[in-house]
């Protein structure tokens, strides 16, 4: 016997299929079945409020923290590439930076680059929201421009010539072309100017704080662009930026440890560099400031004679910064150093020397860097070495001790090449390296090839215009 499919049964079966199709097409049913709520996510519309604007601004300042002391940043890696830090890490990325042989796709350098750009985007998003929802919070609005400017300043200081500046504020990203170092410094100057314009002449503490920070930031960018006198003018003397002023990044147990302590003294992945390297301290590193051997009271260093994280390198640690020590992003000390450099560049050696010596013997604030409190006699006055070359060397050495691991040394070494006529071989560490045969030739960080996804760069194989200082 065959099982015929009777008409009525066929009809019922066909009806079932139709019913299922109907159910499927009924959006209310399927929407209900597929509805998902994820409590982890915060929709963009949640930022459209006064509180939301503040939260995004806080997030932007968190991003700024990431590129200074909240995360491994060019403040540390720049120190490796320059002469502040030596590698005692197992990470090849760190080694490459210290060797001055950074590959384009160095993931750490690429990560730091992203974090710098994220400061810009976060600040821009916050600016838009604050303008709409918190227009009277002028100091905070200005601080967003400061954060953006500082990221641009650090980009220009540490990365190669040819830095794309894009706008990722909205869903549609507007990609930019690579810009020269000078153009990026100009962007920083413009951002700092915006900050200054917003706070104007306001005298409330928050506005004054941001204005002073913006002045120092702008002046540093001006130095980068060879505008020495203008930089000094921007500072405006101790009235514009008192020597005791500091705009600081802070740490907490709930947020982040101070990364310089975390990676240096705590994890021992970075060792304070010296002009004599190697576990037997018999490898001469030419041009390097002897940050350990100098025994400078501004930078207390201990040669632990025990191995670092790599298990092979004896590390030298500093107690300059503790776990939660606030660190200056910009400060009155920076302002004075800028003025000193401007004076030196302007041929006024006496003023230059006076400023430096005032810092060495000045009021309490200046004699405290990190955890270090200097006695009044700790730093004897400097004497004029007599020649411009020697003065330049002395100035940058002095600055190196004052600003250790605060993201300025690499930019300063590049300026010594760019603005003071020195060759990289006479500025950057040279000679045998304790982990490889010899130092390489890098003078800045490359832009990671991820940037080739920038729509303006399709078909190209590298982003940097050049890798010169």
């Amino acid at each position: 016997m065959r099982y015929a499919f009777r008409f009525g049964e066929r009809l019922k079966f066909a009806t079932l299929g139709a019913a299922l199709a109907l159910v499927a097409s009924c959006s209310s049913v399927t929407d209900s079945l597929l509805e998902v709520e994820d409590p982890d996510l915060i929709a963009p519309e949640n930022t459209n409020s006064a509180a939301g604007a503040i939260a995004v601004a806080n997030g932007a300042l968190g991003r700024l923290n990431d590129v200074t002391t909240g995360d491994e940043s060019t403040w540390l890696f720049g120190g490796l590439l320059a002469d502040e830090w030596g590698t005692s890490s197992t990470f090849i990325q760190n080694d490459e930076a210290d060797w001055r042989k950074v590959q384009d796709n160095n993931s750490s350098v690429g990560g730091m680059l992203r974090r710098l750009y994220r400061v810009r985007t976060a600040a821009n998003q916050a600016i838009k929201l604050l303008n709409e929802w918190q227009p009277t919070r002028t100091a905070l609005r200005a601080e967003m421009y400061f954060a953006r400017g500082f990221a641009e300043l650090q980009l220009a200081s540490d990365y190669c010539n040819g830095i794309p500046i894009s706008d990722g504020t909205e869903i549609e990203i507007v990609f930019g072309e690579p810009e020269t170092t000078q153009e990026v410094f100009n962007r920083a100057i413009a951002s700092f100017d915006s900050a200054l314009a917003i706070v104007g002449t306001a005298t409330d503490a928050a506005s004054v704080r941001v204005a002073r920070a913006a002045r120092v930031g702008k002046a540093r960018a001006q130095l980068g662009n060879n505008q020495f006198a203008a930089a000094a003018t921007t500072i405006g003397g101790t009235t514009g930026v008192p020597t005791t002023f500091a705009y600081q990044t802070t740490s907490s147990l709930a947020a982040d440890d101070n990364i310089i302590w975390n990676q240096g003294l705590s994890a021992r992945r970075y060792s304070v560099a010296d002009s004599l390297e190697g576990n037997s301290r018999n490898l001469l590193v030419r041009n390097a400031i002897p940050f350990f051997s100098a025994r400078d009271p501004r930078l207390p260093v201990t040669d632990t004679r025990t191995v670092g994280q790599d298990g092979g390198t004896f590390v030298r640690t500093t107690t300059l910064y503790d776990r939660l020590t606030p660190i200056d992003v910009v400060s009155g000390l920076d302002a004075r150093l800028i003025e000193a450099e401007a004076a030196l560049r302007g041929g006024n050696a006496a003023q230059w020397l006076q400023i430096l010596n005032d810092l060495r013997t000045g009021p309490t604030r200046i004699t405290q860097v990190g955890t270090v409190v200097l006695a009044a006699t700790a730093l004897p006055p400097l004497t004029d070495p007599g020649t411009t070359e020697a003065r330049v060397s002395l100035h940058f050495r002095e600055k190196a001790f004052w600003t250790f691991s605060r993201g300025q040394r690499l930019g300063d070494l590049r300026r010594l090449v760019r603005q003071f006529g020195r060759t990289p071989d006479n500025v950057f560490p040279v000679g045998p390296h304790y982990k490889t045969s010899a130092y390489g030739t890098d003078v800045n960080f490359p832009i990671h090839p991820d940037e080739l996804n920038n729509t303006n760069l399709q078909g190209k194989t590298q982003v940097c215009i050049d890798r010169n200082a």
Partner: protein
Amino acid sequence: MHTRTLALARWAAAAAVFLGASVAYAQAGSIAVRVVDAGTSNPIDQAQVSIVGTNLGGLTNSDGRVLLRNIGPGTHQLRVLRVGYTEQKKPVTVTAGQQATAEFSLGAVAVSLAPVVTTATGETRRVEVGNTVAQIDVAKTVEVTQIKNVDDLLTARTTSLAVTQGNQTGSGSRMRIRGQSSLSLSNQPIFIIDGVRMTSNADNTNLPTGGATPSRVGDINPDEIENIEVIKGPSAAALYGTAAANGVVLITTKRGRAGQARWTAYAESGLLRDRNTYMTAYTLFGKQTSTGQPAPINFCNLQRVGVGQCTIDSVAALNIFEEDSLTPVDDGSRSQYGLQLSGGTEAIRYFLSGEREQETGVMKLPKFEEARMQAQEIPIREWTDRPNALGKNTVRMNLNSTVNPQLDLALSSGFINLTQRFSLESNATAGLGSQVFGGPGCSICAPERLTGSAAPLNTPLRGYRAWTPGYTWQEKNEQQVNRFILSGNANWRPRSWLQNRLTIGNDFAARSDSRFLFNGEGPPITNIYRNGFKSNWRQNLRNTTVDLGSTATYNPLAWLNLKTTVGAQYVNEETALGQAIGTELPPGAQTPNGAVTRTASEATTRVKTFGLFVEEAAAINDRLFLTAALRTDQNSAFGTDFQRVYYPKASLSWLISQENFFPTVGWLSELRIRTAYGASGVQPNSNDALRFFGTSIQSLQNADVGGLQIDALGNPDLRPERSTEIEGGFEAKLFNSRLSFDLTYYNKRTKDALISAIVAPSAGVAANVRRNLGAVRNEGWEILSSAQVLDRRYAALDVSLSYSTNENELISLGGTPPQIGTNTRVVEGYPLFGFWENKILGWEDKNGDGLLTYFADPARNEVFVDSVDSFIGYTQPRHLATLTTGFEFLNRRLRLQSLFDYRGGHRWYNNTERIRCTRPNCGGRMDPNASFEDQAMVIAALEHPARTNAGYFQKGDYVRFRELSLQYSFSNDLAAKLLRARSANIVMSGRNLKLWTAYRGTDPESDFQATVDNDVPSEFQTLGPPTYFILRLNVVF
């Protein structure tokens, strides 16, 4: 949520009521069927008896009988299928109200595959399916060889399935079927157990082990499994929908059989031994040429000797693993005890099982550390002595009920309770790997090397890098799981031509991951590490499946049978994580409660899929089988601008040798040709389509404040990856079915491949955004051949050989630039994740000093490296082969079975050697007797400006003696006499017995990333796979 559940229930109920309206019982008869072995006349149980052209049928009991009730009057074709026997059909006439009888005598065949396979629309005869389906007879496999988990069951059992296991006890594995299709999502197949989607993703933990991690697949007890089927690709998996493109593994657990209670007891015990050969550490002692003074340790190396910076005094060598007091490995142990009960009546059958499994891995506190800790009166806790261990209890109860001839009900329930702990290893800073592989070539060096400078840490390193295992293993990394997998299945046949099925099930796992270190213990990684910590992650994982289908069968013409299936499926996957972390604990504290820093957070993922499908199958003359189907899915992870996806399927299977026109060939028993086409997908991750902010906490002017930061760009157009596959081939049975040969070609193309498209950093947003941009091709051949070479009463020999190939190519990146990683690249025209580097072109010892040295001067340089990066090799094997032989003698009571496993055509990253050379302690860096190949590898990586790792991407080809087992089956008399048992056997087995390879590292299956589902193999400071030696006793009462 409640509303949605109700909506689903209402919908299901409506469908059931609709179908129920058609129920009516005509006056019917029944058929009593008996099936026996033609050779011995012994009854055959578990034979599948069915009425052709209907959904009616049943399984024979242990007496070989089954009664088919409610059969309409008339003449019916009865078909009997049983693995190991020829298929048989015969007509039976049923009279209303009467019982007809039918007796089948089945002839045994030497080589046979299971005649029935599981498909998305239910069980189907293998010959009707146009695609290849691999089957593993788990119940038999577990009995004859050493199987500790599902990964073992799947390793080297079928073509095109590459399984790479983690090497710690309890760790999971990477599984790839027919290559890799996805650039940025998992390429792991999905698992379905008793009809229910199973949580199966790899790396199922929050423990930061730096290497081996567990998979939830590993939870499943192989002794509870009846069989496993592997659906290899979209041509077969279309109806499994938006998740199945990487293949589907179907697990069916054991069922009770009608008959008297059958007790099965088993016990196994044995050991694990690390028989790997690890690399020796070297240290070159010499004088610094410039000073004439002894150079500090690690300063001198072959390059520095070559350029004249050093002269060699001596070379020290140490292999920690070969030093009895220093080695961190020792024999581990394994034991397993289980008891199973099955039986029942025609109306209700049961299967009950309980098992306890324990395994202790090979890691063991070295003797010198034991002595040190005892001397320092430091407690040696269990996890410090044995940091890697597993304890697992499993319980299962499966019930099957034939409520009436129209209705079958089944309940499957399994409970798993396990505790396992892992050692921090390969890529964990605190782990064992960097310590045991990173130290110098001397156990006692001058000056003495110590863990730390001050007590109590100033303890000798004895050849370890920065601290010794006692410090590492004071930290405990433990996972506990309580898991319940429940499914209920109803098969309702209101008409002989209509079958409705409903499966509802849930896989729920409560997982607790715990990481703990007492205050004052552990390695001195940072200033606060030894202050202790406790991290506790508690996660619930839930997979809910509702699967509803209805199949109508009808014969519009005598030679034509049609089968129409419609169905709906709903899958809801959800994870919810809560974590509490405390660092810097008070002395003695074991909770985060008193920690200096405490953080708490939670995370949730939810993905829901709703699919509908329809399938039409036609059988023409019961020889030509055509199938066409379509499934459509909606998924919560799709972008808001994308609604639904369609997956079509079509297949043809033709028993051409049964056609009249086919010439009679004496040696050809059966020939079937088949081809199939189908599509299926891979869903995006739950939040890939969304643009959202995340929270942050930051200290601003010394006050902690919350903030928001953009986390993801989102993509409203996001849709699933869609893979289409065509496969074709034939199956032949030769020489009276003593030899089978199966050949398959497949070509799988994936379009809309989800790419984690890199967002240019300058955008200042997320690093990646998921986009459907890629296209990938996988193509290959599969050959499977089995032969019963000898088949006598006193002896037998069977051989099985499988071989498969895979060619993988990225066709398109959708206009985005190549994805350039540190060692791998994703480039159009090349395989996914291929190794790319500047090739080492050669070397020449120009100055004849016996060393290779890099000189900037080309005239003196001795190692030559290509100036541009180029493709070096596949990261996944392109060729897989297995050879299984079974030799039975002593009247076939003794069976010797072996399995050899080959993989080749790929490279393996000897990342251990790379990092050893940077420590530096590798031979190529420090041993003047090292081969030029090893020296060139190091020079190219560390001295040449190209800095290429090419030398570390080494040929990964190998042949492994994977399994050997010797099984002795007691005669029934002996079993009864000795054990009062019905039957018994004893099995001695070994796993991972021998390796032949060109790879220069420890083992070409040693991959620290395999268990985290990474597609790039990398041996990185990783222990090799252990060898197992196990003795097992199986007794049936």
